[in-house]
């Protein structure tokens, strides 16, 4: 009996070495959001999206330091940091799992859905996001878009005189993750 348990545990210890070969990571992914106000719109961008995908256990893990978001106008960035309460809640992150099957042997783009916990402004919600994964020899290309409703995350849309920034914000990410050796 003990021999069986020992064998089982040994297999489990050895197995992660195999699955780590199916892990991909990047710390220079791109994230941007598009926000609108009447007669005007603006985009905020960051090239410091950190992400990790483990194909073996289907985990998807992304986060960005919101301080790195840049709308091109410093005064607007300062406003945004206050709105997001960035000192208190510096990260926007997603942690979840692939809902759909992904074939790691195919180099074609594959539509996938991930479900998990998205957190921003210190508020977490369970969401599903549709995106595309494409594997190459040693990389994994990720693209995804979704719409965030600021009210769902207790973010008060900034008011500009007599009107407010639209509460819905379009978010997109793209990242090339490199295989963890």
């Amino acid at each position: 009996m003990f021999r069986f348990i020992l064998s089982y545990l040994f297999i489990w210890i050895l197995f992660p070495a195999a699955i780590s070969a199916q892990s991909f990571k990047s710390d220079s992914g791109h994230v941007e959001f598009h926000s609108t106000v009447p007669l005007h719109s603006f985009t905020g961008k960051s090239n410091h999206l950190v992400g990790k995908i483990n194909l073996a256990d289907s985990t998807v893990d992304f986060y960005v330091d919101v301080h790195t978001l840049d709308t091109g106008i410093g005064m607007r960035d300062r406003d945004m940091m206050e709105t997001l309460d960035a000192k208190e809640h510096p990260f926007a992150d997603f942690y979840g799992k692939l809902d759909t099957k992904f074939n790691p042997n195919s180099f074609n783009p594959q539509e996938v859905t991930v479900s998990g916990k998205f957190t921003v402004h210190g508020v977490s919600r369970q969401i599903s996001i549709n995106g595309t994964l494409q594997k190459t020899e040693s990389e994994l290309q990720v693209e995804a878009t979704w719409t965030l409703n600021m009210k769902d995350y207790d973010i008060k849309p900034p008011s500009i005189l007599f009107y407010r920034v639209a509460k819905e914000v379009d978010i997109s990410i793209s990242s090339t993750l490199h295989e963890i050796k």
Binding site: F2, I5, L6, L9, F10, W12, I13, P16, I19, S20, H40, F42, H48, V50, K52, N54, D57, T59, D61, Y63, D65, H67, T68, D70, T71, G72, I73, G74, M75, R76, D77, R78, D79, E82, P90, F91, D93, Y95, P158, S159, I160, L161
Partner: protein, 283 residues
């Protein structure tokens, strides 16, 4: 004995498994190390006419439309608080060449004055107080383009200022700005060089509203009949715009002309309404 040995091995292996399992857990969240530290003083590149240490970021364009009307306190009904008088309007464009250096051009309707100006931020106050003050050098050259039968060199004027500022307690911006104005045309008895220590302040009432004041005490020789100019008003910022509503003693939007031409005394009730619109573009 054999039982305990086997159990210990199992325990160690399970512990090892747990440790390896942690490899697959959520990544540790780490702050990005090179986060921009914001310059914290003032919302605009100029208060109402006085240049500030606020510098445009690289590739930002600030379009400014400045207005000042007639005296609000004389012929109140007939001139509707001075709004019936023709305003002095300055249309200006300032561009951030780098995060520290900006240059601009403007045109005022009074005397059709065209001015070129540039500012360079030598020191920038940081929000973490690693640099406690801001210090900017500014230069401005203006030319009267209205036909006046004078040689071109007599139409030229200039101003140089060294602007020191500091934000206190996160809500109060204050600046001291020694400046010297130079006019080429002194035939009408005017002074060639005028010296002032400009004072400016901004009190942040909220994220959107602030109270602003500027003052130009002239030291030494001054043109006959001129008075120290003062302005006070309310700024409203929206992220991309700053709207400025103010009362000022001077008609002028250029510092050298404020020093040389202002004949109205704010404290005697000689002030006018003015408003500026600043619109920032990211090019």
């Amino acid at each position: 004995m054999k039982f305990w040995k086997s159990t210990s091995i199992c325990f160690l292996l399970i512990l090892l498994l747990l440790l390896i399992g942690s490899v697959h857990a959520q990544m540790k969240r780490e702050l990005y190390k090179k986060v921009k530290i914001y310059d914290t003083t003032f919302w605009t590149s100029t208060l109402y006419a006085q240049s500030t240490t606020n510098n445009l970021e690289a590739h930002n364009l600030n379009v400014t439309i400045m207005h000042s009307f007639g005296l609000a306190t004389s012929n109140i009904i007939q001139d509707f608080f001075g709004l019936d008088n023709p305003p002095n309007v300055r249309l200006g464009f300032d561009y951030g060449i780098t995060n520290r250096w900006e240059a601009g051009i403007g045109r005022s309707t009074f005397s059709d004055i065209v001015d070129l100006r540039s500012k360079y931020a030598i020191l920038q106050q940081k929000s973490d107080d690693s640099m406690p003050i801001s210090f900017t050098l500014k230069g401005d050259v203006a030319v009267v383009t209205q036909e006046n039968q004078k040689p071109l060199r007599n139409d030229l004027s200039s101003l140089v200022s060294a602007i020191f500022s500091r934000r206190l307690n996160g809500i109060f911006d204050f600046q001291v700005s020694p400046m010297i104005a130079h006019f080429n045309d002194v035939r009408s008895g005017n002074i060639k060089n005028i010296f002032s220590i400009g004072l400016g302040s901004q009190i942040h009432l909220s994220k959107r509203f602030s109270l602003v004041a500027e003052y130009y005490p002239v030291f030494g020789n001054r043109n006959r009949g001129t008075k120290n100019s003062f302005a006070i008003g309310l700024d409203i910022q929206t992220g991309g715009h700053v709207f400025q509503l103010f009362f000022t003693s001077s008609y002028w939007h250029l510092e050298q002309y404020i020093l040389a031409q202002n004949t109205d005394q704010f404290w005697s009730g000689d002030f006018r309404f003015g408003f500026n619109i600043n619109r920032l573009f990211d090019l």
